[in-house]
């Protein structure tokens, strides 16, 4: 069994999956509006939130991410018509399952951010980072081997 001790001044590492059509554009808008959010949020661009495989979420946690957030178009606005509806079901089931395994529920999140919602994107990220920071390091799902030799 592994032990990780939380370092002083913990800054979480956040992986954000953003759909190309709404949320990535929303993040761009946050940028062009100079609405800041913590630098520890890093965005991966996917065509649609429905491209996000639960395996990616787990992979992120295994590799040591402290929080994973998935952003897509608002329901009904999906560029691919139905993609985010599938995402919603998939993630609802995955998140509830992780909670069942005892994983902190605030480490995962699904949000709808449109291309016009730069402010929302920034607010969501600030809030998510605050929640994950409060939780501390991801000890339950990270694989210690990843950081071996550092």
């Amino acid at each position: 069994m592994q032990e990780i001790t939380t370092k002083e001044g913990f800054v979480p590492n956040i992986v954000a999956f953003c759909c190309n059509w709404c949320s990535y554009a929303g993040a761009d808008l946050a940028g062009s509006s100079r609405l800041s959010y913590p630098a520890n949020v890093k965005i991966i661009r996917v065509p649609c939130s429905c491209r996000v495989n639960p395996m990616f979420v787990l992979k992120a946690f295994q590799r040591g991410a402290d929080g994973v957030i998935i952003c897509g178009c608002h329901p009904g606005d999906c560029h691919y018509v139905t993609g985010n509806y599938y995402t919603r079901r998939r993630m609802a089931m995955l998140f509830s399952f992780l909670d069942y395994l005892g994983i902190e529920r605030d480490r995962t999140r699904l949000e709808w951010v449109s291309a016009a919602e730069g402010a929302k994107f920034s607010a969501v990220m600030n809030d998510f980072v605050a929640k994950v920071t409060a939780l501390g390091e991801n000890k339950k799902l990270s694989d210690l081997r990843v950081k071996e030799g550092e």
């Binding site: 592994q2 395996m55 787990l58 295994q62 998939r90 399952f97 005892g102 799902l141 210690l144």
Partner: protein, 324 residues
């Protein structure tokens, strides 16, 4: 059960003799009284070892993926729970329905030899079931056990009925069990997150990655499993007391979510006695509560809960109910 067995044997003979089917899938006697094995019988001669008793717990439906590809028709004996897996596999185009002749057989719950041994009985040489009572002979003496206490976990909460039958051999009506199959899941849900984590850590760290759960699972019928495929990014073989078993079991449970019929084979076969069915049942319970009751395998048609949606579906944060 003897009566049912002889009827089954009789039918198997007729089907093979008449050439109606090329083979019959059932169970063959083992070395002891409690270890029958799934078997294919291709001639009346081979049927001499045919058996159907209280230890025929194995789900035969997954074998039909291969059997339905063979020349000629295959007859199979399916218990009520097995028929759900059968339907699901037909739905997923894994079994060619036309080539299978389903004989629905009675099941009065199957026994778990592990549970019998856990009662302190060793060297079991004979088991006789008489209603609720089970008489167990061992080299060290005899004992009488209550059947309820020694049935397979999957049988304890089962109220399944045959969903598919081309013919049936059912001589007795099985009483309906008044049990909540989600009771164990609910108990876990009531715990704190830390307690749950501890529970699963303890259980999952027993895992030896033998893949018995995956290989027996009728929903895990992938030609190439992601865990065996170096290209998948999650392939892994190590049994490492860190993350891999968790990853394996989470992904496996997710992959069968909405398709798992709750046949309970995963828990039956786990050499380390991990209650794997509690993973799958959580998905079943969540799906039932969030998207409406759904029993995989009730039909060989239609979508599964994770391949459909409603515009009014709940957001993930609303699905997570406040626990402790």
């Amino acid at each position: 059960m003897k009566e049912v067995e002889s009827k089954m044997l009789e039918r198997a003979k007729v089907l093979l003799e008449s050439g109606e089917v090329a083979r019959v899938i059932g169970w063959r006697k083992g070395a002891f009284c409690h270890d029958p094995e799934p078997a294919s019988f291709e001639s009346v001669d081979e049927l001499k070892d045919f058996v159907y008793d209280y230890f025929c717990g194995a789900n035969l439906s997954k074998y039909l993926i291969a059997e339905s590809k063979k020349e000629g028709k295959t007859a199979v004996f399916l218990k009520p729970c097995d028929t759900y897996s059968f339907n699901q596999l037909v739905k997923e185009h894994r079994i060619n329905r036309e080539k299978i002749h389903v004989i629905a057989v009675e099941c009065m719950a199957k026994l778990d030899i592990g549970k019998i041994k856990a009662k302190g009985l060793s060297a079991v040489t004979g088991v006789e079931v008489d209603g609720e009572q089970v008489k167990v002979q061992t080299l060290y003496g005899e004992a009488v056990l209550s059947k309820t206490e020694i049935v397979l976990a999957k049988c304890a909460t089962c109220n399944k009925t045959h969903q598919v039958k081309d013919e049936e051999i059912v001589l007795h009506e099985r009483p309906v069990r008044d049990v909540n199959r989600f009771a164990e899941v609910e108990a876990l849900e009531q715990m704190t997150a830390e307690e749950r984590f501890k529970f699963w850590r303890e259980q999952l760290s027993k895992c030896i990655r033998c893949n018995a759960c995956r290989n027996v699972c009728p929903a895990c019928s992938c030609i190439k499993c992601v865990f065996d495929n170096p290209q998948s990014g999650v392939a892994a073989k190590a049994n490492d007391d860190k993350f891999e078993e968790q990853l394996f079991h989470i992904i496996r449970a997710y992959h069968v979510a909405g398709r798992c019929t709750d046949c309970g084979e995963c828990s039956r076969v786990c050499p380390q006695g991990i209650p794997l069915h509690l993973l799958n049942r959580k998905f079943i319970k969540d799906i039932d509560e969030t998207y409406g009751e759904f029993q995989a395998g009730e039909s060989a048609e239609g979508k599964t809960p994770l391949t459909e949606y409603r515009e009014s579906d709940l957001e993930p944060k609303d699905v997570l109910k406040e626990g402790k």
